[in-house]
Symmetry: C3
Subunit: 269 residues, 3 copies
């Protein structure tokens, strides 16, 4: 890969009204003017680390080899939380060690983890409130020029990680939770497709969410009439409940964290 065409993605909670994103891009362009940016999101809920982890999980490994993912949701900036650089397979991740990379680690085990200590690659003076501009952006830019990642600091034995609550699966069925609500109001659970496929296909079942009961998992949102609820295996590989041409979160009154149960029906003996 030509180092000039390296891609840096950005995932932050900086919003779109301030100069914070621009400052990071300017610093990067000053180091590697040929880098290409892809904004993954800057509108993640302020300080919601797991929202960033979720977005990275669903998209990072779709990028071409050598892509650098700069992720800054960093309420602990200036504290003792470490700045890190992680290589997972052929992708690079730069940001704070606060759990932001939990779900990409979850997906790929083989990785190299570096604590950023080589301040020669940082912008000076380093502020205590904006490491995105002063540490993470310049490090991502220098990585994009092909500097070996071992130059940036010292090996780190493990990262701070959080995990989504795992769904509970037993002979009665599966108990999970709503892990994410998207812009359409679609309710995305933490129940992965494989847990459903192993269980739900064998016998009849009911899905309970809010005050709604669904008896089938449909092929698409459009499998039901307008305004009706529908369960699908969504594009993120999780069980999802939506309203066709409507907002399920609003119409079913369901919030993030609400329980979802898939209960197997016992055959009448």
């Amino acid at each position: 890969m030509n180092s000039e065409s390296r891609i840096i993605t950005m995932t932050t909670d900086f919003g779109s009204q301030d100069y914070y994103v621009s400052a990071m891009k300017a610093v990067i362009l000053g180091i590697n003017p040929s880098v290409r940016f892809v904004d993954i999101s800057h509108d993640l809920p302020p300080q919601d680390i797991m929202a960033g982890a979720w977005v990275l999980k669903n998209t990072a490994f779709l990028y071409p080899p050598g892509t650098i993912h700069l992720a800054v949701i960093d309420p602990g900036v200036g504290s003792s939380r470490k700045p890190i650089l992680v290589q997972i397979q052929d992708q690079y991740f730069v940001g704070p060690d606060n759990g932001l990379f939990s779900l990409v680690l979850d997906k790929k085990e083989s990785c190299r983890m570096i604590e950023l200590t080589a301040d020669t690659y940082w912008r000076k003076p380093v502020s205590n409130t904006f490491h995105g501009r002063d540490i993470f952006a310049p490090v991502a830019a220098h990585v994009s020029t092909g500097i070996p990642i071992s130059n940036f600091g010292r090996p780190l034995p493990e990262l701070t990680t959080y995990r989504w609550a795992k769904p509970i699966s037993d002979e009665e069925g599966v108990q999970g939770w709503i892990a994410h609500i998207d812009r359409y109001g679609n309710l995305i659970s933490n129940i992965p497709e494989k847990l459903i496929k192993n269980r739900g296909n064998q016998q009849e079942f009911k899905i309970y969410i809010g005050n709604t009961i669904l008896k089938t998992i449909s092929k698409s949102y459009a499998s039901v009439p307008d305004g009706e609820p529908v369960a699908v295996l969504g594009s993120s590989g999780m069980l999802e409940v939506a309203i066709y041409k409507g907002n399920a979160a609003e119409m079913l009154g369901v919030e993030k964290g609400a329980p979802v149960s898939l209960i197997l029906q016992k055959p009448v003996s």
Copy 2:
């Protein structure tokens, strides 16, 4: 044109908090790493097909020849609605056949329409809930590499189209509707400049909107004092009502779909 520098624009209702836009860009970069993105909008109202059509109408034909417009407002994803690729003059459009391209067709008659059937150009497996990532993005990427559009499927005789309600013009004047309200609260009608120029210049007239009456069409928003309503022929070529340094939708209490009348004044005999 060098195929490596092809531009892909994106117009969606995906919002900016989710991974959906990023997933499409990642898939495209995996196929053509040199493509250049322009985000037209990702914040269109969820499932508002005509809002997407309006944006495309006002901007698509300003782009350089060979630009590919990837547009995904797709409530019917996974249903029988067709995935399509359309060439109109020197611009390409990829997305669902649900009316999204109605207003660009309206503008340019000569076009080639293809139903996407050649799944060799799709991402596998194809989900039922995210054709943006699995069909439209990879097709747009392959179009950007120079593959002839006839390779992507079979000719389609006509598209699903919707039209804006046409204004009614008679000897009394012109009756139209507010077709769009922009971020400033400017009220953009469906009355085109030419209908005004043919009629309004000849004699005195009054424009009725909400509980306001305007007697002139001004040159610019700034033709009136701060806080006053003003009618102009806007940048989209339509009659528009604004408040100088204010929000007309809020201050006049006018919503999308509200009537606007231009009534010619009869000379006193």
Copy 3:
């Protein structure tokens, strides 16, 4: 610098639901297809010129030499306000002469100022409501191709400028105001670091904001427990009051323009 890789940044109040930003980019790409865009912000509060000035001040001079900053917050479009092109050090600025460049001028004295009069570089016909598309975008594009800036019009002796209210500093302390509230609710004052460093370090002081009193300036947001208020010298070089992992504007009930006082404590005699 290769003219093909010139960067154009964009700072507007156009929002992200309309075609306005896209129309400007399309016009630019039609003139210089190789230009690279960086969106600084399109979500500035409608018609808030000083919000644009603040963003430009904090970010423009971080960009590589030759960067062109296209800034359009332009309530007076179509009035007598002048369209301008300004070179300040190695950066270029294009937009309306309405105060938008006040704070970059404030920072750098040596500059060349041009009133845009050479309409050969404009898009025709020029609308009265969208000079962003018809004047500023094409001028920025032509600047990016290397045309000397004197070609675009005539020298302008001075710009329209506004200044932030200056903080008042006397033997009692410093009296300032909240000049900006960011997405996190952080309260950014107009009191620069140097005014604090000269005064606050010498003796004990109290900072009054809303109904809160702070007795120290901390190193980082994370210097206090979750939910506690904290004063820091922020990344913009100004005194800033935040709540660690919280929203200071909401929790302290403080709005833009609210007073902030740093009062020096007299030693007990």
